[in-house]
Symmetry: C2
Subunit: 124 residues, 2 copies
DNA sequence: ATCTTTGCAAAACCTTTGCACTGCG
DNA sequence: CGCAGTGCAAAGGTTTTGCAAAGAT
């Protein structure tokens, strides 16, 4: 990640324009708007470099391709809509998490994934 | 899932013998002890059928192959040890989960994954 | 005997990698 | 210019699928 390229600028722009976790494929499609010739390999390589740099963090959705979001976001969790498959940020956190770990275990972190239907998909 | 076959019996036996979430590959290797000729495709097909039947449920560990466990287990969560990579069941649940979903969203389920070090790996 | 289930191999995916070319610094 | 970065295509790994043979009822 030593140089600024059109491809990397486009990828960062996509994250700025869409404030939600994005998959490599989504990222590729959206970045094509800026740089039509961008290859999927570049997207994967850039994602990996950005994760290694601590700029992005993976968001894992069970049974789905991984998504990525900016790491600078404060601690939060996610909501996965079963209707549109989109993942939304949830800026809240259960308060009694520390009590869940078995005694003797050292708890270092946690992830909460909510499932259901988003506002738009609730009717359908 | 209409017929009882040696392959399916072997797969169920593996789940009985190992009380922890198992990956398709683990399942395949372990089932070979009973039915050496069992193919990986059969393992995948059987897993899928058992999940559809509600007999198994997937346990997703970020960045790792999926694992499966019996669905009859009461609602619970998981602890992923960063030392030994094992996944443990956690029979506790945050109480204020319902309050986390954004308003307007319909919450249908949730998953909690804890990270840290298990009792045995805490020292190392 | 019928019709589901199996094993094999090929196909379908997703992600990574090799290599020559491009273009940032 | 030199070398990081790119695009393409091929390789790697995992999961799915087509089909003829096996086997459960």
């Amino acid at each position: 990640m030593e140089r600024t390229t059109r491809q990397r600028t486009a990828i960062r722009a996509v994250f700025d324009a869409h404030a939600r976790p994005l998959s490599p494929t989504e990222l590729h499609e959206l970045a094509k708007a800026d740089v039509p010739t961008i290859g999927i390999a570049t997207v994967y390589r850039t994602i990996k470099a950005m994760v290694d740099d601590g700029e992005l963090q993976p968001v894992d959705v069970p049974g789905e391709p991984p998504r990525y979001e900016r790491a600078e976001l404060a601690h939060h969790h996610h909501f996965h809509c079963r209707g549109c498959d989109k993942v939304f940020d949830v800026h809240a956190c259960p308060r009694d998490i520390e009590k869940l770990a078995p005694s003797g275990f050292r708890l270092e972190g946690h992830a909460v994934m909510l499932f259901g239907r988003c506002d738009g998909c609730r009717a359908a």
